[in-house]
Symmetry: C2
Subunit: 432 residues, 2 copies
Amino acid sequence: MTQLEIARSGIISPAMQRVAESEGLDAEAIRQGIASGSIIIPANSVRLGSVTFCAIGKGLRTKVNANIGTSSDCRSLETELEKLRVAEESRADTVMDLSTGGDIGAIRRAIIEATTLPVGTVPIYQAAIEAIDRRGAIVAMAADDIFDAIEEQARDGVDFVTVHCGVTRAAVARLKRQGRVVDVVSRGGAFLIAWMLHHDKENPLFEQYDRLLETAHRYDVTLSLGDGMRPGGVADATDRAQIEELVTLGELVERAWAAGVQVMVEGPGHLPLDEIPANVQLQKRLCKGAPFYVLGPLVTDVAAGYDHITGAIGGAIAASAGADFLCYVTPSEHLSLPGVEDVREGVIASRIAAHAADIVKGVKGAREWDLKMSTARKNLDWEEQARLSLAPERARGVRRQRVSSGQACSMCGEFCAMELVSKHLGTKVVRC
Amino acid sequence: MTQLEIARSGIISPAMQRVAESEGLDAEAIRQGIASGSIIIPANSVRLGSVTFCAIGKGLRTKVNANIGTSSDCRSLETELEKLRVAEESRADTVMDLSTGGDIGAIRRAIIEATTLPVGTVPIYQAAIEAIDRRGAIVAMAADDIFDAIEEQARDGVDFVTVHCGVTRAAVARLKRQGRVVDVVSRGGAFLIAWMLHHDKENPLFEQYDRLLETAHRYDVTLSLGDGMRPGGVADATDRAQIEELVTLGELVERAWAAGVQVMVEGPGHLPLDEIPANVQLQKRLCKGAPFYVLGPLVTDVAAGYDHITGAIGGAIAASAGADFLCYVTPSEHLSLPGVEDVREGVIASRIAAHAADIVKGVKGAREWDLKMSTARKNLDWEEQARLSLAPERARGVRRQRVSSGQACSMCGEFCAMELVSKHLGTKVVRC
């Protein structure tokens, strides 16, 4: 049985018990959330003994995913394993292996072997690459190749898969009628569109969705319904192609639930910041409360080299509006495959966004964390501040660069506002 | 006459003409904004021939300030001049010299000499430091020392001064009655509170506000009414001490206008992100549309080492809600005096926030910039993308690290979504 079916049967699984403990919530509340579809635990049944259970959804801490993986230009497994290590050290909640270069099957299995974090993939990459290797072109891919790749990856233990089932002929027709500045920026979406246009056929992942559900059900692989039509620039945001796809995804969510399959929905992408709350609300309504997994959103197109910041702005707004899961964006986005330090910067930026949202979402423990930090700050307790920081080593390093001769920091030195006011106001050092 | 008085008399000054050109707006609209108080041009009459005119306020591009300056622990003038250079290179709109270490008069004059950007200061720092030097304690400062420092700095050509006129006995009483986690984190506010409590007297900047207005008027120095009561942790946000001060600042704005003095209002600080729009709206209402200059806001307390990101999230939300001027926050905030690279990272993060807001504010040219970038992206025109980037050198550097063998970037290599879809959808390369 999948976690969804277990929850519906009224049973609290060990996975539910474990996530309840880590969230500080009641296990019964977790069970109800999973039964209703508003919470998922991506955990392939093959990995039940080894994966760290991580719940994503309503009422829970906003989670962060780090994308790693090779490209045709950068094929080193060692580098990807180092990125994995840094993603874990920076406290990503999940990783996705998006490899498209080298022996991607071996890379995927090495990553799954090396981590206890839930691992996601985009199986169509494998199908497309194998189509080039075996048949000379992506469009020479057979529909069965896609399902074979999904089956193989499920067998390998992948916990969630991005599947662009909503890239339908109807959505492509709307895209064509409307026009766009940046057309399609989703790689998986692009593979499917190329195939559909070349063969003049419907998307196999849409047409044979039941076949996909059957595999997902067998391994309890969580479906992450991809947004192949996500906008690639703010000029294309919230357009008819994007919303057509989202409406379809809403229907596919209900079909997944009917089949006992866990499911979440992916979202944009590039969005002006004032359109973010409406996008989240629309997803929540159309998809009946299924968890929302957003890429960024990126609130401007012009910050190449700093898109982790652009993504943190959008991510904080999206999560505070109800998005459940943030896919990180690194400083290398739009320019190159991320390197190891990009992974660190990307995870930290997304964690800041997630936590800023958790404060206003009322997530258990979120405000308490800030209160502890503020108290340590008031007490000029520098080691406690570093320990409580989202990135302790960085905090210690920055402070060490320019140390003060006094109790305070080198910004104010002998003119520390907090020291001065404490003395004159007679406020005591607080312990919380 | 001050710019405010010139505007009221119906005349368009050279400064107004110049900012109209740089904003791409009508000079008469700028004049009306200045006359109404919703726009300021901080430009000391001493510097009229040398300062770059920069307008801040309603309908204009959101501006970014970079704080530089020594502390008692870090006193090098050379380092501060290097920070100034990097602030200019990163395209800060203004700088504030917050020096509190070394010969601060000489440092201030060197900074004004070295830049054409508008320069702001916090004159009470000078008064407090001189009080220690001459009389042995900050609280030994005389009220006249504060006004002498303001007069001296105005004579030096400072374009805007932060003056914590709203730190009144009433506000301090509210602070005491209510209690706070982090008390007071404004350095200038703390100096005044220490003095007021020690002497049991009212804030001289409040009590002798007309004297301040007289000096400001003489040199057309813009007043930046400081928020000495700004929250230093999310637990203290939007509390009674903060709002008491803001109500007073609203009254002082009207008195400045009556005296023909240009004025803006400073704001928090640490705020949960859902409280930011209300804070902006409150300032706009209570202060009758005077420009709002925010520090951050910082949407969580726990990101020490990465507070430029925390500040970018808050700044984007604040500016999109109507804030006009963002004071940058650097990665060193809460830990140490910023170094040279911190200045760069801080300015860029704030510029991202400002521009993301300008897109939704409808600022002239904002969406057009993103459209050009998206078009260059679609065309895989890498040099044009770098040129259009907010930080061109960084964009070029990131791309160079991992170059692709093909037309695309090393993230997707031969599997570029845009290339693939262009080919199959038959969309043309666009020129905008």
